[in-house]
């Protein structure tokens, strides 16, 4: 036993703000299985991933217990209370009750990974200074057993001064009932008044806090002494006198920086506890060791990295095609069926050209998006994504960033919004902002529909060696996004965001076999989000565009009378010319021709221009808008949207979608920031309008200029 654990604090001494229902904070190291446990306990769906810092949002859930219910707050994974990164500060602020809209939790459920109790116990010892009722969930018990680690839970409980420790397995659910039972009584759990790892600091802080009065809690004094909270440190200096604080620090920390002294002291204690409670301490985990060695060996790893990327892009095209053909066929058949049943009128056009052609043209990309997400989820959950940051640190250094920016940039392949939130693990503010501005360049899943549409329509489905040309072009577009992102980071880091060289240090997760259920839930979530957008935002836009394109109706008799006799001989020609003329005098046509001059230098006609403009709030809308425009104004003989695009002509008969124009359009989409959600996230994360405005202006400009140069130069050749 260690000293200082006998004294227990009275339960009545604990401040409870939530009388009706306790709020418990779920806290632990990144990758400790916190989010999985949260899912298990609350039954709520939410995303979990296998790399540090992904649980960036505040997740709330309710745990139904036998006699009551508690609310559980899932906090970002952290290693210490030092508040070095934005994520850590959020977790610390919530735990300490400094977060404005979140009440201070009345208890803590600390999650410790049984295979990483070294770092887990360090955080726990820091948390004990909060003097909140605390219990421990020891997760990954199966993995520990598989690695020959056995932990004496009772001995651990004793070493911690009586804090209950519940071994659980989130995979089998073993131990969860006991844990829930423990949660029922969590607020009456006793914590040692003086945690065992650093009694001198606890006692000193306690007596200083008592001396200063009710405004000061022990943890405040500790954070002030350790300088982890600069504001409190300043206040302590004012109240005690600078000399007294210096004296306290030198007694406690000697000459060392406070944080270093704390690490030495507490980890020294943890090391001894591990020797007491754990039989076998491997230096490295057996399971992942073999894999890790290979996947992080420099050259095999680099080859593997590119092979994985290529596989993803190939799969997105080749695996999805059969399913997409089915959806495409079904939606055009449905449209035709409606027209034959209802005849040619406003209502049938509304259903067929507005709803089905608009929304259907986006839904068709569901298979591709699911395949892309399947890969990203598997890469995340195996821990591979985090490991690439080790691999890519060198590359990132050349643009002034570190490997730490790799995870947000790679997850941007799925969506820039969570990626921008994931930049919270980056310690330096300038490095973080540079990464935030680089992330939207990465090809997100919403760009996939427009890429896929244009590639399928204009790139032949040929084989180049063992690869497919369409997949190769898609890979090129991803590279274009990466180049744009890295170029932007380099530009910013050598101008506006110039700063000290970022350091790179990161705890790397093990390789884990992804849990099938978790992968399925995440994939389902992604599909649901995509379909929900198609059913709401895109649905509304498609209807709006249909109304603008369908009305006002022109006078058909008058139109026909203007046609010459020779034009009237071929009925199909008359129909085509008539629908084109109708489209051109519709509201959409009138608006489109107003904005056409802006985009004419890029080779876009008014239809493409208005679709692109409509896509500024959310880029996948552009496909829906094109779907509706070309359905309302289409020739009778073309069925699929890509056929309609290929057939589109300028009034003088020239083809609109020429190779330079299509390439320019692709470049525009690769670089342009057409996503209101991303802008809102940048605003929230940087806490200023300056960066979202800059990002939008900058990306729109280079997208436009890129498309302009390619079209103009390409047309000369």
């Amino acid at each position: 036993m260690t000293e200082g654990t006998e004294v227990k604090i009275p339960v009545s001494g604990i401040e409870i703000r939530h009388k009706a229902r306790e709020s418990i904070a779920l806290i632990g190291n990144p990758n400790a299985g916190k989010s999985t446990l949260f899912n298990r306990l609350t039954g709520l769906r939410q995303t979990t991933a296998n790399f540090p810092g992904v649980t960036v949002e505040k997740h709330l859930g309710t745990v139904q217990l036998e006699h009551s219910a508690i609310s559980l707050v899932d906090l970002p994974g952290i290693y210490s209370l030092d508040g070095n990164s934005a994520d850590e500060r959020i977790a610390v602020d919530v735990t300490l009750g400094r977060m404005e809209d979140t009440p201070r939790p009345s208890g803590l459920l600390v999650v410790i990974d049984a295979t990483h109790i070294y770092q887990g116990l360090y955080l726990l010892e820091q948390l004990l200074e909060l003097q909140l009722p605390t219990m421990v969930a020891l997760t990954m018990i199966d993995a520990a057993t598989a690695n020959g680690i056995s932990i004496d839970t009772e001995a651990l409980q004793d070493a911690l001064g009586g804090i209950p420790v519940y071994p659980v397995s989130s995979i089998t659910g073993h131990g969860l009932d006991e844990l829930k039972h423990g949660l029922e009584h969590v607020t009456s759990n006793k914590v040692p008044v003086i945690p065992a790892s650093w009694p001198e600091l606890s006692r000193t802080a306690q007596s200083v806090a008592q001396q200063l009065g009710p405004d000061w809690q022990r943890i405040d004094v500790i954070q002030a002494l350790l300088k982890t909270h600069p504001e409190l440190a300043g206040k302590l200096g004012q109240q005690l006198g600078t000399d007294a604080v210096i004296k306290l620090r030198s007694t406690l920390f000697g000459d060392a920086p406070p944080a270093a002294a704390e690490a030495r002291q507490r980890y020294g204690w943890v090391k001894n506890i591990i020797a007491e409670v754990q039989e076998h301490t491997p230096l490295y985990l057996k399971m992942s060791a073999r894999l890790v060695r290979w996947t992080n060996r420099p050259w095999p790893a680099t080859l593997l990295f590119f092979a994985v990327l290529m596989l993803v892009f190939q799969a997105v095209f080749t695996w999805a095609t059969p399913l997409m053909d089915v959806i495409d066929g079904a939606s055009s058949n449905l449209g035709q069926w409606i027209v034959t049943q209802l005849g040619h009128n406003a209502f049938s056009s509304f259903l067929a050209d507005g709803v089905i052609a608009g929304v259907g043209s986006v839904i068709i990309f569901l298979p591709q998006i699911l395949i892309l997400f399947l890969f990203i989820i598997i890469l995340e959950d195996t821990g591979y994504l985090a490991r690439t940051s080790f691999l890519m640190d060198r590359v990132m250094r050349t643009v002034g960033l570190s490997g730490q920016s790799v995870i947000p940039m790679l997850s941007s392949f799925a969506c820039a919004v969570p990626a921008i939130m994931a930049t919270r693990v980056i310690p330096g503010r300038k490095d973080r902002i540079a990464t935030i501005l680089a992330a939207p360049f990465m090809t997100c899943s919403a760009r996939l529909p427009i890429y896929a549409l244009l590639i399928a329509a204009f790139v032949p489905d040929d084989s180049v060696g063992w690869m497919n040309l369409q997949g190769l072009v898609l890979f090129g577009l991803y590279l274009l996004g990466i180049l744009g992102g890295l170029g932007t980071a380099l530009l910013l880091k050598s101008t506006a965001l110039r700063g000290p060289k970022p350091r790179f240090m990161l705890a790397l997760p093990e390789f884990r076999v992804p849990n099938l259920q978790t992968v399925a839930i995440k994939l389902y979530d992604r599909g649901r989000i995509f379909l929900k957008r198609a059913g709401t935002v895109i649905f509304v836009v498609a209807i709006g565009v249909w109304v603008l394109a369908y009305y006002p109706r022109m006078d058909v008799a008058q139109y026909r009378s203007t046609l010459t006799a020779s034009q009237q001989t071929d009925p199909a020609n008359v129909d085509n010319a008539q629908s084109a003329a109708q489209m051109s005098q519709s509201w959409l046509g009138r608006i489109g021709r107003k904005i056409e001059p802006v985009f004419k230098p890029l080779g876009w006609d008014w239809r493409v221009s208005s679709a692109v403009v409509a896509g500024f709030p959310a880029r996948e809308v552009v496909v829906a808008v094109m779907g509706t425009i070309y359905a309302v104004g289409s020739d009778a003989d073309e069925q699929s949207l890509s056929e309609k695009l290929r057939a589109a002509k300028w009034p003088d008969g020239r083809t609109i979608f020429t190779l330079p124009m299509v390439l320019g359009l692709l470049v525009f989409y690769a670089w342009c920031l057409q996503c209101a959600a991303t802008l809102a996230t940048i605003r929230r994360e940087t806490n200023s309008w300056r960066w979202p405005i800059f990002a939008w202006t900058y990306m729109t400009t280079i997208g436009y200029v890129g498309a302009l140069v390619i079209y103009q130069v390409g047309s000369l050749l």
Binding site: Y79, S80, D82, N84, T115, H116, Y118, Q119, Y122, N147, I149, A256, P257, A259, A260, A263, R264, Y267, G268, K271, I274, T281, P282, L283, Y284, L285, V292, R293, N296, R297, P298, W299, T302, S389, F390, L391, D393, R394, G403, P427, R503, F504, M505, L506, A507, L508, P509, E510
Partner: protein, 78 residues
């Protein structure tokens, strides 16, 4: 000898840590303190960054910080 001088597969004890670099303190917070045994697991292309394993965990760091860790190499048993 420092952590930066080890070759992959080497095991060593951290003997003395120079805390003048704030990055080193971050590594100490992750558990790299004196008197623990570490193993150099991997070195990326170009010799930097390094991956160090200890107590079942694995941490990646740059050579610049690794130089601040004086180590004593443990001769391998095989």
């Amino acid at each position: 000898m420092t952590l930066a001088d080890l070759t992959p597969g080497d095991t060593a004890i951290l003997e003395q840590i120079d805390t003048s670099d704030p990055g080193v303190i971050r590594l100490m917070i992750l558990g790299m303190v004196e008197n623990i045994t570490v193993r150099l697991e991997n070195v990326a292309i170009g010799g930097d960054p390094l991956e160090v394993g200890f107590f079942g965990s694995s941490v990646s760091l740059r050579k610049e910080q690794a130089r601040h860790f004086k180590v004593k190499r443990i001769p391998s048993s095989d």
